[in-house]
């Protein structure tokens, strides 16, 4: 495997390019820290440059956009704004990190050689977000792209006049279901409980939509079909019944898990895999490493809170770098440990 070393140590590397990472890039860029953003690789899942918003349609609750804005358009704007302030964006996937010594090491894929390139920085901002969970049942992976979809906005078009299903009971599941009624004849929402997790406004919209019906207390146990989805096997968790549902499309929206595997054993993670940050800041347990966005947030998980925490991480990193520079110039300056980290 070819391996290269990128010359020079950066002030800041940002891993991830959703609202958190790009806001951190805008702020550190404006602070003339010339951040390198390892933005990810194209994908049809949320693990891609721009993150989860690349798969959404209308974002109605990002302040400032009275009539809403399309997710990819919002992310395109943030990306252009980061570039404007001198951020460098690398379309590559981070493959491993070394946080045991400073400057920190981050390795990223090199599409030219198939190997990886090493990058080094004095401060690291982690904004790797969350990835969508899959069901992990028979037929799901085999039929991905042939009726099983991770991207309603990409694939809804192909189900004009079809009977299809959405799995999940949260905001993203209902948002997808409502979007898909633009094309499908019927959309069946399959949910494992008897009530929805989604916000009131989404519930009201979905329940009022004549094309949407619900199958409660049920899980999908298999996806059926030879070369295309023909149906799903269900199990009712209360009655134990195992009915089949004839659908040609299955959209999975059962939630997200933090993308933190890269940092296991090097950063403190909680039981859910979220990076632990020091109360009210973006500081992790490793001085100089900051986390923002959905990879450290299991409560709010909104575009606007991700962006807000990206701003916090940028300011925290900037102050930390300043304190470090001061410390190196005059012995007895700022101590390095996170416990005395001040805002």
């Amino acid at each position: 495997m070819a391996e290269g070393r990128n010359d020079g140590v950066r002030d800041v590397i940002i891993v991830g390019s959703g609202p958190a990472g790009l806001t951190a890039a805008i702020y550190t860029g404006r602070a003339t820290l010339a951040p390198l953003v390892i933005e990810g690789e194209p994908s049809s899942t949320s693990d891609q440059p721009g993150g989860q918003l690349m798969l959404t349609t209308e974002v109605e609750n990002f302040p400032g956009f009275v009539d809403g804005i399309m997710g990819p358009e919002l992310m395109g704007g943030m990306r252009a704004q980061a570039l404007r302030f001198g951020a460098e964006l690398l379309t590559a996937r981070a493959t491993r990190v070394d946080l045991s010594e400073r400057p920190f090491g981050v390795w990223a894929t090199d599409p030219m050689t198939g190997g990886e390139v090493e990058h080094r920085a004095r401060a690291l901002i982690i904004s790797t977000g969350a990835r969508s969970l899959m069901l992990g049942v028979e037929g799901e992976r085999e039929l991905l792209g042939y009726g099983v979809s991770t991207c309603a906005t990409c694939d809804g078009f192909f189900f004009r006049g079809h009977d299809i299903a959405v799995v999940g009971g949260g905001d993203s599941a209902l948002e997808e279901a409502i979007f898909l009624t633009k094309f499908a004849k019927t959309v069946t929402v399959i949910h494992r409980r008897s009530e929805l997790r989604a916000s009131k406004i989404m519930q009201e919209r979905a329940l009022a939509n004549p094309k949407i019906r619900f199958v409660w207390d049920s899980v999908v146990t298999a996806v059926r079909g030879a070369s295309k989805v023909e149906g799903v096997d269900l199990r009712n968790l209360l009655t134990g019944e195992e009915p089949q549902l004839a659908v040609t499309g299955l959209f999975v929206a059962i939630g997200h898990a933090p993308t933190s595997d890269l940092f296991k054993g090097q950063l403190d993670l909680d039981d859910g895999g979220y990076i632990v940050t020091l109360g009210g800041t973006s500081a992790t347990n490793v001085p100089g490493v900051f986390a923002c966005g959905d990879v450290q947030d299991h409560v709010y998980r909104q575009a606007v809170t991700a962006a807000g925490s990206g701003c916090m991480a940028a300011i925290d990193a900037e102050r930390w770098l300043e304190a470090q520079a001061h410390h190196h110039q005059s012995p007895g300056g700022m101590p390095e440990d996170a416990a005395t980290f001040t805002r």
């Binding site: 690789e41 194209p42 690349m54 349609t57 990819p72 599409p111 991905l144 979809s149 078009f157």
Partner: protein
């Protein structure tokens, strides 16, 4: 980023693919597809690096539903590599350059 590609339609597809002496990477895409937009510059790069050996054909599925149906496209982006008029590789979903090259390479 180059724009050196052929726009294929329901009407022009057969002739264009049949007459091509080079391999053609056909990209099924649409304006409203986020992952399609992210993978587009990567496809441009790949085709450019192949010199004259590979051409890029773009099919906007909004206007060319016949082709999407004919090739059973149910997810975009879908990319199909045609050689001598025959489909050789089918890639469903946006992917990074390294992974795309890996899947295309045996046929280039």
């Amino acid at each position: 980023m180059t724009n050196d590609h052929v726009t294929l339609t329901d009407e022009t597809f057969d002739e264009a693919i049949g007459a091509s002496s080079e391999a053609v990477l056909v990209d099924f895409w649409a304006e409203w597809c986020g992952p399609c937009k992210m993978v587009a510059p990567v496809l441009d790069e790949i085709v450019e690096e192949q010199g004259g050996k590979l051409k890029l054909g773009k099919i906007n599925i909004d206007d060319n539903m016949e082709l999407a149906r004919r090739f059973d496209v149910m997810s975009i982006p879908t990319m199909i590599l045609f050689k001598d008029g025959e489909p050789k590789v089918r890639i469903v979903g946006a992917k990074g350059k390294g992974q795309l090259l890996q899947e295309l390479h045996p046929h280039l």
